[in-house]
Amino acid sequence: MSATTRPVSTVSRLRSALRPAEGGVNPGLVAALLILFVLLAVTSPYFLSSTNLLNIGKAVAITGIVAVGETIVIIAGGFDLSVGSTMAAAGMTAAFLLGFGVPLPVAFAASILLGILIGLVNGAIISYARINPLITTLATLAIVRGLAYVVSGGREIVISDPAWLSLGTGAILGIPVMIVIVAVTFLVFGWAMPRTIFGRYAYAIGSSARAARLSGVAVDRWRLAFYVTCGGLASLAGLVLVARTGNAQPSAALGVELDVITAVILGGTSLTGGRGRLAGTLIALLVIGIVNNGLTLLGVPSYWQQVVKGGILLAAVLYDELHRGRRDER
């Protein structure tokens, strides 16, 4: 077709290999990660200590577990704002059951089941009633959080079960359990997305739900599966969060969806679906974690972290928009 000897073709091939849509991760993000890393390593002697690096990992671990589910939902053309509420409700549920003498594994199973149920409700409303996912999950965000308050009477429950607490404080071969959990979550789904029908249909439905449906894909049922995955992972994150703070509270994980969605979009997942990679989300999480850590190490007041977070989200969305614009002019 085209002359292979043209120098342009090598350059453009290289560029397209690096473009997120074609299987790579945004090189700008990788560069940002490296630059931040080097910058902080030079300016703060404490930064490179293993304690600090593990702290960064722990700080983003819980967000990371949720971000995996959110990435999948957004790739599939959806959106889930109810993850923070699900986390709180999941933690409360397990804490309650534990208080009634229910064994820990059963309490955990029940709380994961609750997340799955919330995912089912989200997915069913979005798929079958055809309500916009933003509106749907904004409603379930309020409902689930509200119910967590109603059921608990607004009180927090202190957890003393050592097995549960070990999820937040324990370590395996020197690596905090939380980090192991988030790493396994990323590995499992990062492996599955390009290799299984689950992942293939997430991309297909996000790309064109109509085309997928006309090709015989059971679009509505698969959407349920994606929201269920997200709800289940949010529950898992909620349980880890309780382990970390030592108590279950109805106000837990308030506003976490901002962090989660920032990581997903910054990681190169398209807001309109069809494109994205979990590797991108992971790198974005690390960038956010390092930025926050750096601001702390440099003594910047914590309010500024909020401002920086919003700025990063805005930059990520702008990047997504510009990137999409370029692709549409084919």
């Binding site: 991309y203 297909a204 085309a211 006309l214 090709s215 894909v217 692709r327």
Partner: protein
């Protein structure tokens, strides 16, 4: 012998709009039928009933002489009816092979689970593409391709699973003259292999070129059927225009 697929007294309404009214149509084995009509005449609606997108409001479908109902496009595909949609219905963010196998992915076992057999899908897609004489790269993202190339992806997808009946809604609309020749050659080849064709086109020359029979719809009803080889092309064309616009009313 019973026709391959047959519509009997099919009516389709969308709310207060009647898109099709009491339509009878049959497509024989290895027959190429052309379907023409003005914009909004009901052509797309008719083929979408054949491809399982819509259920008829009234009337019935018969496959090999016995009644069938296609509850979904997947049902129609299983019965050997493939469709190339007017807007192609491709996923831009998937590559060529993934689009060709969408909804019918090949899988292989990996311990207790079944995973996508990406190598085999790429290889089979490449085989189909070269068999069709097309130049498509199986790993290329469809969203980065030209209109003509995308059209060819839709064609390859429809042919990958050896259909008995191929429905094509305006397949030449986005193509250059040269690509149209390729596509029409393909249709001829399929006919030789015994595949039935239903071709919708606004280009009379395409229809005359490949079709054994031409069916004209106007305002949701079949107003005539022509044998293009029974008279000179100019006469057929004139009849087609007449029937489409209803300038001179007469029985076919």
């Amino acid at each position: 012998m019973a026709p391959l697929l047959e519509l009997r007294g099919v009516t389709k309404t969308f709310g207060s709009v009647t898109a099709l009214r009491d339509v009878d149509l049959e497509i024989g084995a290895a027959e190429a039928v052309g379907l023409i009509g003005d914009n909004g005449a009901g052509k797309s609606t008719l083929v979408k009933i054949l491809s399982g997108v819509y259920a008829p409001t009234a009337g019935a479908l018969h496959l090999d002489g016995s009644p069938v109902s296609f509850g979904s496009p997947a049902d129609a595909r299983r019965a050997g009816v493939e469709m190339i949609y007017q807007d192609l219905a491709l996923c831009d963010d998937l590559d060529v092979a993934a689009n060709i196998f969408l909804g019918r992915e090949l899988r292989r076992r990996l311990g207790p689970i079944r995973i996508l057999d990406r190598e085999r899908m790429a290889a089979e897609a490449a085989r189909m593409i070269s068999e069709l004489g097309l130049s498509l790269v199986p790993g290329r993202l469809v969203g980065t391709m030209s209109g003509g190339e995308r059209q060819m992806v839709a064609v390859a997808r429809a042919l990958q699973f050896q259909p008995r009946l191929l429905l094509m809604d305006e397949p030449t609309a986005a193509l250059s003259a040269e690509k149209i020749r390729v596509l029409l050659g393909l249709v001829e080849e399929l006919k030789r292999r015994g595949v039935s064709i239903l071709l919708i086109s606004h280009r009379f020359t395409d229809i005359l070129h490949v079709c054994d029979r031409i069916v004209v719809v106007r305002q949701g009803t079949v107003v005539g059927s022509l044998q293009p080889h029974a008279q000179p092309a100019e006469q057929t064309m004139a009849r087609m225009t007449e029937l489409m616009t209803g300038d001179r009313v007469s029985a076919a």
